[in-house]
Protein backbone atom coordinates (compact mmCIF):
# COMPACT_ATOMS: atom_id res chain seq x y z
CA UNK A 1 0.00 0.00 0.00
CA UNK A 2 2.81 2.35 0.97
CA UNK A 3 4.60 1.47 -2.26
CA UNK A 4 1.48 2.28 -4.26
CA UNK A 5 1.09 5.62 -2.51
CA UNK A 6 4.75 6.39 -3.13
CA UNK A 7 4.28 5.52 -6.81
CA UNK A 8 1.26 7.80 -7.02
CA UNK A 9 3.14 10.65 -5.35
CA UNK A 10 6.16 10.20 -7.59
CA UNK A 11 4.04 10.08 -10.75
CA UNK A 12 1.49 12.68 -9.73
CA UNK A 13 1.51 14.38 -13.14
CA UNK A 14 1.01 11.09 -14.95
CA UNK A 15 -1.84 10.04 -12.71
CA UNK A 16 -3.50 13.45 -13.18
CA UNK A 17 -3.27 13.28 -16.96
CA UNK A 18 -4.52 9.70 -16.97
CA UNK A 19 -7.45 10.61 -14.73
CA UNK A 20 -8.38 13.55 -16.96
CA UNK A 21 -8.26 11.24 -19.99
CA UNK A 22 -10.56 8.74 -18.29
CA UNK A 23 -12.98 11.46 -17.21
CA UNK A 24 -13.19 12.78 -20.76
CA UNK A 25 -13.62 9.30 -22.18
CA UNK A 26 -16.39 8.22 -19.84
CA UNK A 27 -18.15 11.58 -19.77
CA UNK A 28 -21.87 11.00 -20.53
CA UNK A 29 -23.07 12.31 -23.88
CA UNK A 30 -25.29 15.01 -22.43
CA UNK A 31 -22.29 16.63 -20.75
CA UNK A 32 -19.85 15.87 -23.54
CA UNK A 33 -21.92 17.23 -26.44
CA UNK A 34 -21.75 20.91 -25.41
CA UNK A 35 -17.98 20.57 -24.99
CA UNK A 36 -17.38 18.60 -28.18
CA UNK A 37 -19.78 20.87 -30.06
CA UNK A 38 -17.79 23.93 -29.09
CA UNK A 39 -14.59 22.16 -29.96
CA UNK A 40 -16.01 21.13 -33.36
CA UNK A 41 -16.97 24.73 -33.90
CA UNK A 42 -13.50 25.93 -32.96
CA UNK A 43 -11.83 23.44 -35.29
CA UNK A 44 -14.27 24.48 -38.03
CA UNK A 45 -13.28 28.10 -37.61
CA UNK A 46 -9.63 27.16 -37.82
CA UNK A 47 -10.31 25.02 -40.87
CA UNK A 48 -12.29 27.84 -42.44
CA UNK A 49 -9.32 30.15 -41.76
CA UNK A 50 -7.04 27.67 -43.52
CA UNK A 51 -9.44 27.37 -46.43
CA UNK A 52 -10.87 30.92 -46.67
CA UNK A 53 -13.86 31.45 -48.90
CA UNK A 54 -12.99 33.53 -51.92
CA UNK A 55 -15.33 36.29 -53.17
CA UNK A 56 -16.14 33.96 -56.06
CA UNK A 57 -17.33 31.39 -53.55
CA UNK A 58 -19.55 33.96 -51.89
CA UNK A 59 -21.04 34.90 -55.24
CA UNK A 60 -21.66 31.23 -55.95
CA UNK A 61 -23.44 30.59 -52.66
CA UNK A 62 -26.67 32.47 -53.48
CA UNK A 63 -27.53 30.43 -56.58
CA UNK A 64 -26.39 27.32 -54.76
CA UNK A 65 -28.88 27.95 -51.95
CA UNK A 66 -31.57 28.66 -54.50
CA UNK A 67 -30.72 25.46 -56.34
CA UNK A 68 -30.79 23.48 -53.11
CA UNK A 69 -34.17 24.93 -52.20
CA UNK A 70 -35.48 23.98 -55.62
CA UNK A 71 -34.09 20.50 -55.19
CA UNK A 72 -35.85 20.23 -51.86
CA UNK A 73 -39.15 21.12 -53.43
CA UNK A 74 -38.66 18.34 -55.93
CA UNK A 75 -37.60 16.09 -53.10
CA UNK A 76 -40.87 16.78 -51.31
CA UNK A 77 -42.68 15.77 -54.45
CA UNK A 78 -40.67 12.57 -54.56
CA UNK A 79 -41.45 11.85 -50.93
CA UNK A 80 -45.09 12.63 -51.52
CA UNK A 81 -45.28 10.20 -54.42
CA UNK A 82 -43.62 7.50 -52.34
CA UNK A 83 -46.06 8.15 -49.55
CA UNK A 84 -48.89 7.95 -51.98
CA UNK A 85 -47.59 4.59 -53.12
CA UNK A 86 -47.32 3.55 -49.50
CA UNK A 87 -50.90 4.62 -48.95
CA UNK A 88 -52.12 2.55 -51.91
CA UNK A 89 -50.24 -0.48 -50.69
CA UNK A 90 -51.77 -0.11 -47.29
CA UNK A 91 -55.21 -0.04 -48.85
CA UNK A 92 -54.50 -3.15 -50.86
CA UNK A 93 -53.43 -5.01 -47.78
CA UNK A 94 -56.63 -4.00 -46.00
CA UNK A 95 -54.84 -3.10 -42.83
CA UNK A 96 -55.41 0.59 -43.04
CA UNK A 97 -58.59 1.22 -41.17
CA UNK A 98 -57.41 4.20 -39.18
CA UNK A 99 -54.27 5.17 -41.02
CA UNK A 100 -54.11 8.72 -42.21
CA UNK A 101 -52.09 9.77 -45.19
CA UNK A 102 -48.80 11.37 -44.37
CA UNK A 103 -49.42 14.46 -46.41
CA UNK A 104 -49.17 16.67 -43.33
CA UNK A 105 -45.40 16.37 -43.30
CA UNK A 106 -43.67 19.67 -42.96
CA UNK A 107 -40.11 20.62 -43.65
CA UNK A 108 -39.91 22.89 -40.66
CA UNK A 109 -36.28 23.87 -41.20
CA UNK A 110 -34.09 23.76 -44.28
CA UNK A 111 -30.47 24.64 -43.72
CA UNK A 112 -28.13 24.53 -46.72
CA UNK A 113 -24.57 24.03 -45.57
CA UNK A 114 -21.18 23.97 -47.21
CA UNK A 115 -18.61 21.32 -46.37
CA UNK A 116 -15.54 22.82 -44.70
CA UNK A 117 -13.63 19.68 -43.86
CA UNK A 118 -14.24 16.54 -45.83
CA UNK A 119 -12.39 14.16 -43.58
CA UNK A 120 -12.13 12.97 -40.00
CA UNK A 121 -8.74 12.94 -38.29
CA UNK A 122 -9.20 9.24 -37.65
CA UNK A 123 -8.62 6.77 -40.45
CA UNK A 124 -11.54 4.70 -39.18
CA UNK A 125 -14.33 7.26 -38.95
CA UNK A 126 -16.17 9.11 -41.70
CA UNK A 127 -17.40 12.56 -40.81
CA UNK A 128 -17.54 15.95 -42.45
CA UNK A 129 -17.57 19.40 -40.94
CA UNK A 130 -20.05 21.93 -42.34
CA UNK A 131 -20.36 25.66 -41.79
CA UNK A 132 -23.72 25.68 -40.02
CA UNK A 133 -24.22 25.30 -36.28
CA UNK A 134 -26.61 25.99 -33.45
CA UNK A 135 -26.74 29.69 -34.38
CA UNK A 136 -28.35 28.60 -37.65
CA UNK A 137 -30.77 26.21 -36.00
CA UNK A 138 -28.85 22.96 -36.30
CA UNK A 139 -29.20 20.45 -33.49
CA UNK A 140 -27.81 16.94 -32.99
CA UNK A 141 -29.72 14.14 -34.69
CA UNK A 142 -31.01 16.06 -37.70
CA UNK A 143 -30.82 14.40 -41.09
CA UNK A 144 -28.33 15.59 -43.67
CA UNK A 145 -29.53 15.14 -47.24
CA UNK A 146 -28.13 15.63 -50.69
CA UNK A 147 -30.20 16.32 -53.78
CA UNK A 148 -29.25 14.81 -57.10
CA UNK A 149 -30.74 15.45 -60.50
CA UNK A 150 -31.93 12.43 -62.42
CA UNK A 151 -30.24 11.99 -65.75
CA UNK A 152 -33.00 11.03 -68.12
CA UNK A 153 -36.09 12.29 -66.41
CA UNK A 154 -37.19 15.54 -64.85
CA UNK A 155 -37.12 16.05 -61.11
CA UNK A 156 -34.68 15.56 -58.33
CA UNK A 157 -34.13 12.74 -55.92
CA UNK A 158 -32.88 13.41 -52.38
CA UNK A 159 -30.95 10.91 -50.37
CA UNK A 160 -29.66 10.60 -46.84
CA UNK A 161 -25.94 11.29 -46.50
CA UNK A 162 -25.66 11.34 -42.72
CA UNK A 163 -26.83 12.51 -39.34
CA UNK A 164 -25.72 15.60 -37.44
CA UNK A 165 -23.39 14.41 -34.69
CA UNK A 166 -21.96 17.28 -32.68
CA UNK A 167 -22.96 20.89 -32.98
CA UNK A 168 -21.07 24.06 -32.24
CA UNK A 169 -22.27 27.64 -32.54
CA UNK A 170 -21.15 28.09 -36.14
CA UNK A 171 -20.32 24.59 -37.34
CA UNK A 172 -21.40 21.03 -36.94
CA UNK A 173 -19.99 17.61 -37.59
CA UNK A 174 -22.05 15.23 -39.70
CA UNK A 175 -21.58 11.50 -39.31
CA UNK A 176 -21.71 10.13 -42.84
CA UNK A 177 -23.73 7.08 -43.80
CA UNK A 178 -20.45 5.23 -44.42
CA UNK A 179 -19.28 5.73 -40.81
CA UNK A 180 -19.20 2.68 -38.56
CA UNK A 181 -21.35 4.52 -36.02
CA UNK A 182 -24.17 5.26 -38.45
CA UNK A 183 -27.43 3.42 -37.70
CA UNK A 184 -30.83 4.28 -39.13
CA UNK A 185 -34.17 2.46 -39.12
CA UNK A 186 -35.13 1.82 -42.70
CA UNK A 187 -37.47 -0.11 -44.93
CA UNK A 188 -37.14 -2.01 -48.18
CA UNK A 189 -39.36 -0.04 -50.52
CA UNK A 190 -40.50 -3.07 -52.54
CA UNK A 191 -41.14 -5.60 -49.80
CA UNK A 192 -41.92 -3.06 -47.02
CA UNK A 193 -39.75 -5.03 -44.59
CA UNK A 194 -38.17 -3.09 -41.79
CA UNK A 195 -34.40 -3.18 -41.48
CA UNK A 196 -31.58 -1.31 -39.76
CA UNK A 197 -28.98 0.14 -42.09
CA UNK A 198 -25.49 0.82 -40.84
CA UNK A 199 -22.31 2.35 -42.16
CA UNK A 200 -19.75 -0.06 -43.51
CA UNK A 201 -16.80 1.67 -45.14
CA UNK A 202 -16.10 4.07 -47.95
CA UNK A 203 -16.22 2.75 -51.48
CA UNK A 204 -18.85 1.49 -53.86
CA UNK A 205 -21.03 -0.03 -51.16
CA UNK A 206 -20.66 2.22 -48.11
CA UNK A 207 -23.84 1.10 -46.35
CA UNK A 208 -25.10 -2.33 -45.36
CA UNK A 209 -27.89 -4.23 -43.69
CA UNK A 210 -25.90 -6.57 -41.52
CA UNK A 211 -28.42 -9.09 -40.23
CA UNK A 212 -31.02 -9.37 -42.95
CA UNK A 213 -33.61 -12.08 -42.73
CA UNK A 214 -34.04 -14.24 -45.87
CA UNK A 215 -37.69 -13.12 -45.92
CA UNK A 216 -36.54 -9.69 -47.03
CA UNK A 217 -35.94 -11.04 -50.53
CA UNK A 218 -33.74 -8.19 -51.65
CA UNK A 219 -32.46 -8.05 -55.18
CA UNK A 220 -29.98 -5.65 -56.80
CA UNK A 221 -31.53 -2.30 -57.56
CA UNK A 222 -34.13 -2.39 -54.78
CA UNK A 223 -34.51 0.90 -52.97
CA UNK A 224 -34.05 1.30 -49.24
CA UNK A 225 -35.79 4.26 -47.62
CA UNK A 226 -36.15 5.64 -44.11
CA UNK A 227 -38.90 3.92 -42.19
CA UNK A 228 -39.82 6.61 -39.70
CA UNK A 229 -40.50 3.81 -37.26
CA UNK A 230 -38.85 5.53 -34.29
CA UNK A 231 -40.79 8.72 -34.84
CA UNK A 232 -37.56 10.67 -35.26
CA UNK A 233 -37.56 10.90 -39.03
CA UNK A 234 -40.27 10.74 -41.65
CA UNK A 235 -40.55 7.76 -43.91
CA UNK A 236 -39.70 7.54 -47.56
CA UNK A 237 -36.34 9.30 -47.84
CA UNK A 238 -33.95 7.38 -50.05
CA UNK A 239 -30.91 5.88 -48.32
CA UNK A 240 -29.48 3.69 -51.07
CA UNK A 241 -29.93 0.92 -53.58
CA UNK A 242 -29.24 -2.76 -53.04
CA UNK A 243 -25.95 -3.52 -54.74
CA UNK A 244 -25.50 -7.16 -53.83
CA UNK A 245 -26.58 -9.73 -51.29
CA UNK A 246 -23.96 -11.79 -49.52
CA UNK A 247 -24.11 -14.73 -47.16
CA UNK A 248 -23.63 -13.78 -43.53
CA UNK A 249 -21.61 -15.61 -40.89
CA UNK A 250 -24.88 -16.00 -39.04
CA UNK A 251 -26.77 -18.17 -41.57
CA UNK A 252 -29.55 -18.11 -42.65
CA UNK A 253 -29.19 -14.35 -42.23
CA UNK A 254 -27.72 -12.38 -45.10
CA UNK A 255 -25.73 -9.22 -45.46
CA UNK A 256 -27.15 -6.74 -47.94
CA UNK A 257 -24.70 -4.20 -49.34
CA UNK A 258 -26.13 -0.87 -50.41
CA UNK A 259 -24.79 1.70 -52.82
CA UNK A 260 -25.45 5.35 -52.14
CA UNK A 261 -26.61 7.47 -55.11
CA UNK A 262 -23.96 10.02 -54.13
CA UNK A 263 -20.22 9.72 -53.58
CA UNK A 264 -20.07 10.37 -49.84
CA UNK A 265 -16.36 11.20 -49.97
CA UNK A 266 -16.78 14.08 -52.39
CA UNK A 267 -19.66 16.05 -50.93
CA UNK A 268 -19.40 19.80 -51.39
CA UNK A 269 -22.70 20.86 -49.89
CA UNK A 270 -25.51 19.25 -47.95
CA UNK A 271 -28.95 20.22 -46.76
CA UNK A 272 -29.68 19.79 -43.08
CA UNK A 273 -33.39 19.35 -42.58
CA UNK A 274 -35.74 18.89 -39.72
CA UNK A 275 -38.86 17.16 -40.85
CA UNK A 276 -41.89 16.81 -38.67
CA UNK A 277 -42.62 13.09 -38.61
CA UNK A 278 -46.05 12.10 -39.89
CA UNK A 279 -48.71 11.35 -37.35
CA UNK A 280 -49.28 7.87 -38.70
CA UNK A 281 -49.75 4.77 -36.55
CA UNK A 282 -47.17 2.01 -36.97
CA UNK A 283 -47.86 -0.54 -39.61
CA UNK A 284 -48.64 -4.06 -38.50
CA UNK A 285 -46.29 -6.57 -40.02
Amino acid sequence: MADKLRFLKRNRALVTVFTISLVFYFMPGRFAYPVTGRIASASANIAAFLQPATPEDEKESAPLIEKLRRQLIYERQEVASLKNELHLLRKELETVAGIKTSSQDELSRIIPARVILRRDASNYRRTILVNRGSEHGVSPGLLALWGCEKENEPGVCACVVGIVDTVGPRACRIMLASDSGFRLPARMLETRRRVIVEGKSPGLTPIRIKHASPEIKASPGDMVVTSGSLGLYPSGILIGFVSRVEDSDYAPEMEILLASPVNLDELESVIIVELTPPDVPEENE
Binding site: F24, Y25, M27, A32, A40, L117, D120, A121, S180, G181
Partner: protein
Protein backbone atom coordinates in the same frame (compact mmCIF):
# COMPACT_ATOMS: atom_id res chain seq x y z
CA UNK B 1 10.09 21.08 -23.85
CA UNK B 2 8.80 24.39 -25.13
CA UNK B 3 5.15 23.63 -24.77
CA UNK B 4 3.62 26.48 -26.76
CA UNK B 5 5.73 25.59 -29.79
CA UNK B 6 4.98 21.92 -29.30
CA UNK B 7 1.22 22.60 -29.15
CA UNK B 8 1.49 24.56 -32.40
CA UNK B 9 3.44 21.71 -33.96
CA UNK B 10 0.91 19.13 -32.78
CA UNK B 11 -1.86 21.24 -34.23
CA UNK B 12 -0.03 21.53 -37.57
CA UNK B 13 0.53 17.78 -37.73
CA UNK B 14 -3.14 17.03 -37.11
CA UNK B 15 -4.27 19.65 -39.63
CA UNK B 16 -1.90 18.15 -42.19
CA UNK B 17 -3.40 14.76 -41.45
CA UNK B 18 -6.92 16.05 -41.98
CA UNK B 19 -6.02 18.08 -45.06
CA UNK B 20 -3.82 15.35 -46.55
CA UNK B 21 -4.18 15.52 -50.35
CA UNK B 22 -6.52 12.77 -51.60
CA UNK B 23 -4.15 12.01 -54.48
CA UNK B 24 -1.47 11.03 -51.96
CA UNK B 25 -3.74 8.64 -50.10
CA UNK B 26 -3.16 4.92 -50.30
CA UNK B 27 -6.59 3.63 -51.15
CA UNK B 28 -8.49 5.63 -48.62
CA UNK B 29 -5.87 5.79 -45.90
CA UNK B 30 -3.55 8.54 -44.80
CA UNK B 31 -0.46 8.23 -42.57
CA UNK B 32 -0.85 8.83 -38.86
CA UNK B 33 1.34 11.94 -38.68
CA UNK B 34 0.21 12.82 -35.18
CA UNK B 35 1.25 9.41 -33.91
CA UNK B 36 4.62 9.77 -35.68
CA UNK B 37 5.15 13.00 -33.75
CA UNK B 38 4.37 11.15 -30.53
CA UNK B 39 6.82 8.37 -31.41
CA UNK B 40 9.56 10.88 -32.16
CA UNK B 41 9.01 12.68 -28.87
CA UNK B 42 8.90 9.45 -26.89
CA UNK B 43 12.11 8.22 -28.50
CA UNK B 44 14.03 11.47 -28.16
CA UNK B 45 12.70 13.81 -25.50
CA UNK B 46 13.17 13.82 -21.73
CA UNK B 47 11.10 11.00 -20.18
CA UNK B 48 9.14 13.33 -17.88
CA UNK B 49 7.84 15.34 -20.86
CA UNK B 50 6.88 12.51 -23.14
CA UNK B 51 3.66 11.25 -21.58
CA UNK B 52 2.07 14.67 -21.34
CA UNK B 53 3.23 15.50 -24.88
CA UNK B 54 1.60 12.31 -26.15
CA UNK B 55 -1.64 13.12 -24.34
CA UNK B 56 -1.58 16.63 -25.79
CA UNK B 57 -1.15 15.37 -29.36
CA UNK B 58 -3.96 12.87 -28.81
CA UNK B 59 -6.23 15.56 -27.44
CA UNK B 60 -5.49 17.79 -30.44
CA UNK B 61 -6.48 14.89 -32.66
CA UNK B 62 -9.66 14.40 -30.66
CA UNK B 63 -10.63 17.96 -31.54
CA UNK B 64 -10.73 16.99 -35.20
CA UNK B 65 -12.46 13.65 -34.83
CA UNK B 66 -15.81 12.25 -33.88
CA UNK B 67 -16.54 9.77 -31.12
CA UNK B 68 -15.80 10.10 -27.44
CA UNK B 69 -13.69 13.04 -26.41
CA UNK B 70 -10.39 11.73 -25.11
CA UNK B 71 -10.20 8.53 -27.13
CA UNK B 72 -7.01 9.40 -28.97
CA UNK B 73 -5.48 11.12 -25.96
CA UNK B 74 -6.02 8.00 -23.86
CA UNK B 75 -4.60 5.70 -26.54
CA UNK B 76 -1.58 7.92 -27.19
CA UNK B 77 -1.02 8.28 -23.46
CA UNK B 78 -0.99 4.50 -22.98
CA UNK B 79 1.10 3.98 -26.13
CA UNK B 80 3.68 6.51 -24.97
CA UNK B 81 3.87 4.89 -21.54
CA UNK B 82 4.60 1.49 -23.12
CA UNK B 83 7.05 2.86 -25.70
CA UNK B 84 8.89 4.81 -23.02
CA UNK B 85 9.59 1.56 -21.19
CA UNK B 86 10.86 -0.05 -24.40
CA UNK B 87 12.85 2.78 -25.92
CA UNK B 88 16.18 1.77 -24.43
CA UNK B 89 16.09 -1.27 -26.71
CA UNK B 90 15.90 0.77 -29.90
CA UNK B 91 18.74 2.23 -31.90
CA UNK B 92 16.98 5.47 -32.75
CA UNK B 93 19.26 6.56 -35.61
CA UNK B 94 18.61 3.48 -37.72
CA UNK B 95 15.97 4.17 -40.37
CA UNK B 96 14.72 0.61 -40.50
CA UNK B 97 14.32 0.51 -36.74
CA UNK B 98 12.45 3.82 -36.80
CA UNK B 99 10.11 2.48 -39.45
CA UNK B 100 9.63 -0.76 -37.56
CA UNK B 101 8.79 1.10 -34.36
CA UNK B 102 6.39 3.33 -36.28
CA UNK B 103 4.73 0.31 -37.88
CA UNK B 104 4.25 -1.49 -34.58
CA UNK B 105 3.04 1.63 -32.76
CA UNK B 106 0.53 2.60 -35.46
CA UNK B 107 -0.68 -0.99 -35.71
CA UNK B 108 -1.16 -1.28 -31.95
CA UNK B 109 -2.80 2.14 -31.65
CA UNK B 110 -5.17 1.36 -34.54
CA UNK B 111 -6.14 -1.96 -32.97
CA UNK B 112 -6.76 -0.27 -29.63
CA UNK B 113 -8.88 2.36 -31.35
CA UNK B 114 -10.96 -0.28 -33.15
CA UNK B 115 -11.40 -2.29 -29.97
CA UNK B 116 -12.71 0.75 -28.13
CA UNK B 117 -14.94 1.43 -31.15
CA UNK B 118 -16.33 -2.06 -30.79
CA UNK B 119 -16.89 -1.33 -27.11
CA UNK B 120 -18.66 1.98 -27.80
CA UNK B 121 -20.53 0.77 -30.88
CA UNK B 122 -21.23 -2.93 -30.36
CA UNK B 123 -21.35 -4.80 -33.63
CA UNK B 124 -18.48 -2.92 -35.26
CA UNK B 125 -16.62 -5.44 -37.36
CA UNK B 126 -12.99 -5.10 -36.28
CA UNK B 127 -11.84 -7.77 -38.74
CA UNK B 128 -13.42 -5.77 -41.53
CA UNK B 129 -10.95 -2.95 -40.88
CA UNK B 130 -7.82 -5.12 -40.65
CA UNK B 131 -6.73 -4.45 -44.23
CA UNK B 132 -7.01 -0.73 -43.61
CA UNK B 133 -5.03 -1.05 -40.36
CA UNK B 134 -2.20 -2.74 -42.27
CA UNK B 135 -2.25 -0.12 -45.05
CA UNK B 136 -2.20 2.75 -42.54
CA UNK B 137 0.63 1.09 -40.58
CA UNK B 138 2.73 0.50 -43.70
CA UNK B 139 2.15 3.99 -45.01
CA UNK B 140 3.00 5.56 -41.65
CA UNK B 141 6.12 3.42 -41.39
CA UNK B 142 7.18 4.51 -44.87
CA UNK B 143 6.71 8.18 -43.95
CA UNK B 144 8.41 7.83 -40.55
CA UNK B 145 12.04 8.42 -41.65
CA UNK B 146 11.10 11.59 -43.54
CA UNK B 147 9.03 12.95 -40.66
CA UNK B 148 11.74 12.08 -38.13
CA UNK B 149 14.36 13.83 -40.28
CA UNK B 150 12.13 16.89 -40.45
CA UNK B 151 11.60 16.83 -36.70
CA UNK B 152 15.34 16.36 -36.17
CA UNK B 153 15.88 19.59 -38.05
CA UNK B 154 13.52 21.52 -35.79
CA UNK B 155 14.09 19.73 -32.51
CA UNK B 156 15.86 22.69 -30.84
CA UNK B 157 12.90 25.07 -31.22
CA UNK B 158 10.67 22.35 -29.75
CA UNK B 159 12.97 22.05 -26.79
CA UNK B 160 14.63 18.71 -27.48
CA UNK B 161 18.21 19.94 -27.11
CA UNK B 162 20.02 16.67 -26.92
CA UNK B 163 18.82 13.36 -28.21
CA UNK B 164 18.68 10.88 -25.38
CA UNK B 165 20.90 7.95 -26.23
CA UNK B 166 20.18 4.85 -24.26
CA UNK B 167 21.92 2.27 -26.35
Amino acid sequence: MKWYIFILLAFLFVVFEVAFPPSWQLGDAHPEFALLLVIYVVLNAEPEDTIFAAWLVGFTKDLFSTGRLGTHSLIYFLGAAVLLRLRKYFYQEEILVQSFVAFCAVFAASLLYLLQLNFVLPGTDVSHYMRRVLVVSFYSAACAPVIFLLLDAIRRPIGIYQKIRLY
